[in-house]
Each structure stands twice: as C-alpha cells, then as structure tokens.
C-alpha cells in the first residue's frame, strides 16, 4: 500500500519519519488534511518540494484548533516568518511536537514560545496577564488577575528578576504531572 502513493518520494517519507514522531501512514494523512485546507493552492505532488505556504487564517480554522484560545500563538510559534504562514514542513512539525510521543523537554520549549506573547524570550507579567485573560475569557476582575499573576511569578521565578526565563519555566513544568497529557492535540 505504501508503494503506490505518488505524493512523496520514498526518501522524503523516510526523512519525515526520522525527523518527526509520525509513521508513513500518518504523514500521508497529514498531507491530506493540509491539502483539504486549500485544494487549489496545495499541490498533490510534493516530490519536487514546492514552496507553498498557507496563511494563518486557514490553519486556525481547523477543527482541532478552532476553539483553542491560543490558536494564533501556536501557529505563529511554528511558522518560519513568525506571522503564522505555515509550509507543509512547519505543519508536520507542529503536530509532531503536539503529539503524545514528543518528550517533555521538547514540549516545554514550544510551550514557552507560545506563552511568550511579545517574543522577548521571557514571560513577563504582561504575557502572563494575556495568557490568563485568554484562559478565563476575561471573566476575572482586574484585582484577581493581578493577584494571580503576582502569585504565579512568585512561585516560579527562581532568579528573582520578576519574569520567567526558560529555566524557570522548565523547572516549573517538570513538577506539573499533567503537562504531558494536556499539551497534546490528537490528529
């Protein structure tokens, strides 16, 4: 069954299998999903590595991402230009990191990128406030938001600069037992 497909060369499929956590069948299925987002833009023949990028507005309307409050940040973190335009490589990369076989360290790196709204490689108090508002649909009072952000930074910040660097974030994640199961999208 695997020899009859004409979308990818065998070498390309081998490369995808070794670089992501997906099997051959899953990669072909992902290509099908990518194609049906924009059938006139995405070619069925990927053997010559076409340079096709889909805009972020199409990706965030996928059923798996549609109601996720962080959907635009997720797509931006995996795009090469930082604007959310994903090529097929980035698309596969995104779902590979979010699959259940990706290890904790890899997921922590990308989770840090997602929650870092101003991309300065630190999660400061404003980033935390935006995260919290997205999580609770802005239904907490401003004092409650302020209190929660202060307590969160106080708990996780180790070097005392009142913002979270990647080391602080990873240390906090390593003590959260549910992280691997919640940071997971099934496709």
């Amino acid at each position: 069954m695997g020899n009859k497909q004409t979308i990818f060369t065998d070498e390309q499929l081998d490369a995808y299998q070794d670089c992501t956590f997906f099997t051959r069948k899953e990669i072909l299925r992902l290509h099908g999903r990518y194609h049906e987002l924009a059938p006139h833009l995405v070619p069925m023949d990927y053997t010559h590595d076409p340079d096709v990028k889909l805009p972020s507005a199409l990706i965030v309307n996928m059923p798996e991402l549609k109601e996720n409050p962080f959907r635009s940040r997720i797509v931006e973190s995996f795009s090469e230009d930082g604007e959310g335009n994903l090529s097929f490589n980035d698309f596969v990369d995104m779902f590979s990191v979010l699959s259940e076989m990706a290890p904790r360290e890899l997921k922590a790196i990308y989770a840090f990128k997602i929650y870092d709204f101003n991309t300065d490689n630190f999660i400061c108090k404003e980033d935390l406030e935006k995260t919290l508002n997205k999580l609770t649909r802005e239904e907490l009072t401003p004092e409650e938001v302020n209190l929660v952000c202060e307590k969160a930074i106080e708990e996780a910040d180790l070097d005392g600069d009142s913002k979270l660097s990647f080391a602080d974030f990873e240390n906090m994640i390593s003590r959260a037992p549910d992280f691997l199961s919640t940071f997971h999208i099934r496709i």
Binding site: E80, E155, A156, S174, D178, R186
Partner: protein
C-alpha cells in the same frame, strides 16, 4: 555554541540541555534554511554513536523542519565504511524498527475502550476520566480472576462430575450426626411461576444447588497413576491465590501513581503557575467543552484565592471566637457520629430480622433484600445530611471535600462490616441460645449449609447494587434532565442538570468490588457476574454522562485522587481478607454440603494433603516455615528496606540542592552583568578624563 545532542539521554537528574541562546533561536526561526552557518548550533556528528540514538536526537531537536531534513540528508550521505554483514544488519534493524512502530499503532486499537475514554477526557476532564479508567481496571481484574477460578475449580469440577461413575474417585461421607447432614435445597411440591423470577434475584430455588454456590461442589479427590487432583485443596488454594493476585495488581497500579507523586516533589507546589500554564487541555474540541473548561479554570482560581482569604481570616480570630468555632465543630461531629451509629444499628436489626424470616411470596422478596435496602438507604441519606452539616462547620473548601469523602468511605465500609459481623455471629450462635450450636459447631437449624447462605447474601448485595444504579439512572437522572430542559421556572434553573460527582461514584465501585471479594469463596461465579455487571455499568454511565450531566465545577486533581481511590480499594480488600481468614480458620464448615464437609476447619485440608507430598518437597516446605529460614529473611528485608529508604532521601536532597543551585546561578548572572556594567562605565570615564 555547540549543540551536544548526547545530553538528551538524561535521567531526571542530568544537566539541562544547552538551549540555544535567545538571539540564536529567533534567528533559527526567521532565516532561510539551507544555509550552513557557523554561528547557528552545530549538530554533533559523532559517528561512533548508534544510529537509533542519532535518530532519536533528530526527532527531539527544536529546530525548524526543513533544517532537520537537511541535517538528515547529510547524515544519510555519511556512509560509514562497514562490511556487508553490518550493512545487512543495519537494514534489518531499520525494517524491524518500522514494523515495531506500525504494530504499536495497531496494538493501541486492541486496548479496551481507548477511544471512548479519550472522548470522555476531552469533554469532561481528567477527573471524570479517572473514574472510567478505574472501572476499566476493575473489569479486567474481575475477568482475569474468573479465568483463574474457572481453570482450577470450575472446569475440573464439571469434568469430574461428568465422570462420576468412574472408580477412581473417592468421595468422603461425613461421619457426622443425622441432624447436621440433612440438606435439601430443592423445593417441594407445586411452585408458582413467579418463584423462578424471585429465585433469580435471590439465588434460592433452582439457583441454589448449582455451580453458582459453594454447596454444589464435592470433595472429590482423583488419584490415578500419573495424575492426581484434590478439589477441596484446589478450591482453597485458588481462593488464596485470587486474593494475592488482586493485591499484586492493586499495588502495581498504586506504584505508578506514587512514582508520579514522588517525581513532582510530593505536594502540588506551585498551584497558581501550574494551573495557568498546564491547566488548559489542548485536545478539547467543541464550543461547549471549551466554555465549560474556561469556567472551571476560572472557578478553580477563584476558589484558590478564596482559600487564601479564609486562611488569613482564620489566623486573625480572637481566642473566644476560636473556642466557639471548635466547640461548634465538636458538637456537629457528635451529631454525625450519632447518625452513622444509628444507621449501623438499623443494619444490624434488618439483618437479624431478614435471616429469621421464612416465606415464598412477594413480601419475602422484600424481606430478603432488607439488609441491602437499609445499607443503600443509609449510604444515600447520611452523606447528604453530613453535607448539610458541613456547611455549618465553616472549613475551607478543600478540607470540606476531604472530610466528606472520609465520612462516606467510613460509612460504606463499616456498614458492610456490620452486616458481615451480624451474619457471622448468627452462624456461630453469638446471639441465639447456646444449645443450637452444640451438635454441629454452627447454627444448623437456621443454616443447614451456611456457606451457601453467605454466598446468597453477597449475591443479593451485588444484584441490588446493580438494580439501584440502573433505577437511579432511569427514574432520577433522565427525568431531571427533561424537566430542566423543558421547564423554565427559576427553581429548576437553579438546581440545574445533574453533576457527575466522581468520588461518590468511585466509592460505589469500591463497595461493589469488596462485596465480590467477600463472596468469592462462597460463590465462585461471582467474579464473572461482576464483570458483566461492571461492563453494563460502564455503558450506562457513559450514556448518562453524555446526555444528562454537566461537568463538575470543581476540577478533581486526578493524580492524587487516583492514589486515594486505590487506597480505599485496598482497605476493602483487607476487610475481605479478614473475613476469608476468619471463615477458613475458625468456623466449622457445614457437614451437609460443600467440599469441606468432613473437616473441622477448612484450613485442615492443607496439612492433611501435606503428608502426601514427596519427602524432599516436605522437607523443603518445613525448612521454609522454620525459624532458621524466616529470621534471616526478615533481617535481610530490613536491611534492603533501610538501603532503599536511604537512597530515596539522598535523591530528595540532591533535588533540593540542584534547585538551590539554579537560584544561585541566576543571582550570579545578575551580579556579573552589574559588574561588567560598572567596569565598562569606569573605563569609559577614565578614557574621557585622558
């Protein structure tokens, strides 16, 4: 900056991988990919490392996909100089790895109910999913126990009874008195048609003298030249192994729950940051599920903030207020204890009345079920009243939940214990006149075959539990949802849809499983009945979850609660083990039925068959039981325990040391940066002065 991929193979204690510096990682994501640049992280081209390790490193690199592919291409081009044998081996290992990956995907389909559980977890969260995972564990446990019992007790009994006329069987007739050996379970004369229905529900009549209950099994002992099988010994040892098997399964499952708790440092420290960063479930789909999850996160945060406020307020109470609060709490606890004691007395009375009643009409059905009815009613009313009382106690929300749970557990387990105690005291004439137990050693007038009666009692408990679950679902939950959906008055909207309360449901499962454990010695087919019952309950609960319920506002911490559920299950196991030991070692088995009718206690079959073993086996077993073996074994296990405890404390200390070291490194970094700034400003000022 070198990217040393070998740091990936870390234990939890290994050093952090060297994460590319902020500027570099940004550049990685923005620059076009095919340019090999010296400033971007270099991949470790060490050719000595195995191909599997390199492939795993490539998957775990946080680089853009196209860059990973070009690294892969370069890796492929590096053909190491290997012989033909080695290249054939590499190719075969590659195919094997592909095959293992695809079969792993296929095996996932075989796991029972995997898709359903994922859907439940996505829509209702981890707490509800943990209930269904617990139910699945119990289904598998019961099914495996049934296979154990069937292969060692049921099938041999069937085989031997069908070859009953063979001359190699020895059936011991009990040399007891006339009054002790009469046992006639078959009903006499005409029976009404509805008697069959009553018999199905109570285990009497046509069901009593069948493979379902203890009384049907004989004490056949088959001895041929090359094969011997002793049914009583098999019966007893199978019961023992069944209990040990269940204990091992529970302990293994507890071990994995405990390991997670130890890894995360015990308490769920960092409550706010963990909730904000790991609270969102990325797998949620559907507008309704997302909205509910957002509500539940908001509710959890508000509850946490409220707890802080309460703690602050509690710390600021005056002495008079504290004394008043504690005396109020003591008084309310006394009321709770009185309620629980009252329900125990009610169970005792109901059991005594029900055991003495003889009749065959419909009223007798109700009387037979009286103990089950009283237990279920008590388990319904008393927790409800305790919840109302707990509102007056003014504890913090989490303490209230834990207290309610502990009270419910205590009530359920001890009420079952009271029922068993009443039964056993009736069998051993604790409450009747002395004379009735003299001839046979047990109460032969009420119980010609007391083990079957106990088995019937447990069967009735299990049946009634099942009927209650189905009846509550049909008569309470479906109508409630219809009323809520179609009626729009304020009271109805306030009450709202049914909430799926996880702890009460789990306690129901633990109660059902404890009943099966207690009854398994007397009713060998009870595990398979329980398997079918739990499977039906799974599907019914799933239907009621999706049609009638809304998720609980309070998110249940699934990791710590898993451990708690298994702990309660273990407590039920201990209760059942206690009854097993008491029945096997103390009470005289009935002389009119069952495999043990010629012995003084059930345990005696083991020493009796001990002497038929070969000499070497006998000496080996005697040696194991003697002090020369057990005392050194005990000392050795103490030494091993002390070593493991010391190792655990050393690991804990290392973890806290590393954490402190992280903090110090951050401060060092800030200090050095400040020093650099000072030095550069001093040199600049000096240059300006020249």
């Amino acid at each position: 900056m070198d990217w040393n991929g070998s740091q990936r193979h870390g234990s939890a204690m290994g050093g952090y991988p060297s994460y590319p510096s902020p500027q570099e990682s940004l550049r990685l994501r923005r620059r076009p990919t095919n340019v090999a640049d010296q400033s971007s992280p270099q991949f470790n081209w060490n050719p000595d490392r195995k191909e599997d390790e390199r492939r795993q490193d490539l998957k775990e690199l946080p680089l853009p996909m196209a860059l990973k592919k070009s690294i892969w291409q370069v890796q492929q081009m590096k053909i190491p100089a290997v012989s033909r044998w080695q290249s054939w081996k590499m190719q075969k290992s590659k195919t094997l790895k592909r095959f293992r990956e695809s079969s792993g995907g296929a095996l996932a389909y075989v796991a029972l109910w995997r898709r359903v559980l994922q859907k439940i977890g996505g829509h209702f969260g981890g707490g509800v999913q943990s209930y269904f995972l617990f139910l699945r564990f119990l289904v598998v446990l019961n099914f495996l126990s049934f296979l154990l019992i069937a292969s060692f007790v049921l099938v041999p009994s069937i085989v031997f009874q069908s070859h009953n006329s063979g001359n190699n069987n020895t059936v011991n007739i009990s040399a007891g008195k006339e009054e002790c050996t009469t046992y006639d379970p078959n009903p006499q004369g005409l029976v009404h048609f509805y008697t069959y229905f009553i018999d199905l529900l109570t285990g009497t009549g046509f069901m009593e003298y069948s493979y379902l209950f203890y009384g049907y099994y004989n004490n056949t002992e088959v001895i041929t030249n090359d094969f011997s099988y002793n049914i009583p010994l098999a019966y007893l040892l199978t019961a023992g192994f069944y209990f040990i098997f269940c204990l091992i399964c529970i302990v293994i499952r507890m071990g994995s729950a405990v390991r997670i708790a130890v890894k995360t440092g015990g308490k769920a420290v960092g409550g706010y940051s963990t909730l904000v960063f790991t609270g969102w479930d990325y797998g949620l789909q559907g507008d309704r599920a997302v909205r509910l999850k957002q509500n539940s996160i908001r509710y959890q945060l508000q509850v946490d903030l409220e707890e802080e406020r309460i703690k602050l307020k509690a710390a600021s109470l005056t002495l008079a207020q504290i004394v008043g609060l504690y005396s109020l709490r003591a008084f309310l606890n006394l009321i709770v204890l009185a309620l629980i004691g009252g329900s125990f007395y009610g169970i005792f009375l109901a059991t005594e009345f029900s055991q003495g009643y003889q009749g065959t009409d419909f009223v007798s059905l109700v009387v037979e079920y009286l103990p089950s009815i009283v237990i279920t009613a008590a388990n319904f009313l008393v927790p409800f009243l305790c919840d109302q009382i707990a509102l007056l106690e003014r504890h913090s929300p989490s303490t209230t939940v834990i207290l309610a749970l502990l009270r419910a557990v205590f009530l359920r387990m001890i009420s079952l214990g009271v029922l068993l105690f009443t039964l056993w005291s009736q069998i051993t004439c604790r409450t009747a006149e002395r004379g009735t137990c003299q001839p046979c050693g047990y109460n032969h007038t009420l119980y010609p075959c007391w083990e079957t009666r106990v088995g019937q009692e447990m069967y009735k408990l299990a049946m009634f539990d099942f009927i209650t679950v189905i009846a509550v679902m049909i008569l309470v939950e479906f109508p409630r949802r219809m009323v809520v959906d179609h009626c729009s008055c304020k009271l109805v909207k306030f009450v709202g849809r049914q909430e799926f309360v996880v702890p009460q449901n789990v306690l129901g499962l633990v109660y059902g499983q404890t009943v099966v454990w207690v009854g398994a010695l007397f009713c060998p087919l009870l595990p398979v009945i329980n398997t079918v019952k739990f499977v039906i309950i799974f599907y019914c609960k799933r239907i009621t979850l999706f049609y009638n319920c809304r998720p609980a506002d309070r998110t249940f911490r699934s990791t710590s609660s898993n451990f708690f559920f298994l702990l309660v299950l273990l407590f039920g196991w201990m209760l059942a083990c206690l009854t097993l030991i008491y029945s096997v070692a103390v009470i005289h088995p009935s002389m009119s039925c069952g495999p043990f009718l010629s012995l003084t206690t059930m345990w005696r079959v083991v020493p009796n068959s001990f002497y038929s073993l070969s000499d070497t086996t006998r000496e080996f077993l005697l040696f194991i039981g003697s002090q020369a073996f057990s005392v050194p074994l005990f000392m050795l296990s103490c030494v091993v325990l002390a070593y493991v405890a010391a190792l655990a404390s050393v690991y804990g200390q290392s973890v806290s040391l590393l954490r402190a070291q992280l903090k110090l490194e951050g401060r060092d970094k800030k200090f050095l940066v400040k020093q650099i700034e000072e030095l550069s400003s001093v040199t600049k000022r000096r240059e300006q002065n020249f």
